[in-house]
Symmetry: C2
Subunit: 340 residues, 2 copies
């Protein structure tokens, strides 16, 4: 039986779904139940990771330090994980103190072609004795060979594993297999996959990744996460057990963990709605959804046309300013067509 | 581009999720929007098909005849489908009148090893000029070769296609591929797949079926159906278009159809909850959930243990009486273990 590392970012990626308002009591309750279920890694934090709490990205209710402290106090068997994007979290001010407070697993993320920005953080985390992993975000935007080369940089910097993030929920199982296969063949470190459910494929994509050699998969209780949500943790564990993978997780207790999450943490259970489907098909991350809806009304263009056009222009998070420009162009084009 | 027949049982399988209380106004609104979106087949009826409205299975709010009349009046391009299980619906009293009222597509269902019961209905539907399909239910319980032989009987009786129903949402993509492949190789008629989402695999399983030669897939708006729900129609259409299949369905309009369904028809959007996962893993259809929960409390046994044991005994819908017997045995076994 192949042994799989299931990592649970419910208390980090899920924070996106509640505008980063998770409370200390929620974090404590979830950690205790996750620990009892034998979840190997529990990640906690602002949705965008360490030091991301801000007016622009959303102010978290609880500080990074307090989230880590509460999680630390309520985990015994499970390892405590944090996520950091180098542009937001610095080594001295943020990552160092997080490790001082007890973070044991450090995920360092970047856009899938910008692994360079993660290297110092990865080396530092490793030197401090943490398990260090690189997260390549928006991985549908790069070819397998590019992802492998970016991952190699992370490995050389000390990463023990690299996780492909399907941030826009854009990939289908064959596209996952193709990417993971090239990475597994070309790297000596562990390879993982983190799915979003925009096209209803989160569980299937995670299994597809394992079939070609990935050994790390991420899941959140009831899929807790923005928009269509993440891979549903308890479904994933059930399917992995049915397929004969070893996860170390107690099936009944992970079901109870997800029941607890639904009762005490989730405002609503993620649903794949029409906007999420368009987001996944266009390959545009869901942070564009709200401004795109507003701007499409303002310029009298179809929000779905706008999303597909943004996808053709390969936008990534942080480039929301471009929406107005694209909407103007679509409106002008429509006016021309009417005139012609 | 391969052309796929997408069939939409939202107004039939979805009726399970609202205790068969769909109204004429809901049926009319959905049919108009489905017709506009170019959905090839719209199935309507009691969740268990023609003549199933009863105290035991649930009384429908609207009669079979009125559901068909309303759908007929609101469909132009889409064909109107009905479902019938031979044990409930007879040819003279039920199927004949349904065809008189305008049903054009007839699905005749049986347990996956009991195709014999469907043959007269299939022949009759074909003679009346309908498109006739056989539905093999609980198809996870039979081996591919058995399913192929059962399907062959249906073909010989006049069925133009056979649809495998994963009634308990128990199958994973490889298990679907294995079944569909053997059927496609061994039959001269169309093969289809109807999924439930208990293990989060409904869309992936549907695509897996198409990859090995199926040409019919079923989906319902927002997955409308009992428990974990069905394949989510609008996600399926998005994925099929991304993969290059031809469905004849307008993407934006099927997204609007699902929005309308959520607003006007669904009480709640299906969610994969813990009970659904156990149901899928055990291979026991969700109609057992409510009585099993009640009886497990009564006998002080774990409802999940009860479900897995029912799965080992290969129970099918209609055998709910066995639950008490199994619960008693589990309770006695637990008492013995305590005593030992």
């Amino acid at each position: 039986m192949t042994s799989i590392l299931v990592s649970d970012p419910t208390l980090r990626d899920g924070n996106h779904a509640v505008a980063h308002q998770l409370t200390e009591a929620q974090i404590a309750a979830y950690c205790r139940a996750a620990d009892a279920a034998g979840i190997p890694v529990v990640e906690v934090g602002h949705g965008n990771g360490l030091a991301a709490s801000s007016l622009q990205l959303g102010l978290a209710r609880v500080s990074d330090a307090d989230m880590i402290r509460v999680a630390r106090a309520n985990l015994q068997r499970s390892r405590l994980g944090v996520f950091v994007i180098a542009g937001f979290g610095t080594i001295k001010r943020d990552l160092g103190p997080a490790i001082d407070l007890g973070a044991e697993v450090v995920r360092v993320g970047s856009h899938c072609t910008e692994a360079d920005t993660t290297l110092r953080h990865l080396t530092y985390a490793r030197e401090r004795g943490c398990a260090a992993y690189g997260n390549l975000m928006m991985s549908h935007m790069a070819e397998p060979e590019t992802l492998r080369e970016e991952a190699r940089k992370m490995a050389d910097a000390g990463a023990q594993g690299v996780v492909l993030m399907d941030s826009a929920g854009a990939l289908l199982p064959d596209e996952v297999r193709r990417r993971i296969d090239v990475m597994v063949q070309g790297l000596d470190i562990a390879v993982g996959f983190h799915a979003h459910n925009n096209l209803g494929m989160a569980v299937a994509n995670s299994v597809a990744a394992l079939e070609v050699g990935a050994t790390i998969v991420d899941g959140t209780a009831r899929g807790f996460g923005a928009g269509a949500g993440n891979t549903q943790l308890e479904v994933l564990v059930g399917v992995l057990h049915k397929l004969g993978y070893e996860t170390g997780i107690d099936l009944y207790k992970v079901l109870e963990l997800s029941d607890l999450a639904e009762e005490q943490i989730l405002e609503t259970v993620p649903v794949v709605r029409s906007g999420s489907i368009v987001s996944g098909m266009a390959g545009v991350v869901s942070t564009f959804a709200k401004p795109a809806a507003r701007i499409s009304r303002q310029f009298g263009v179809d929000a779905r046309d706008l999303f597909f056009e943004l996808g053709r222009r390969k936008v990534v998070a942080g480039q929301e300013d471009i929406i107005i420009e694209v909407a103007k162009e679509l409106a002008a084009k429509a006016a021309e067509e009417v005139a012609a």
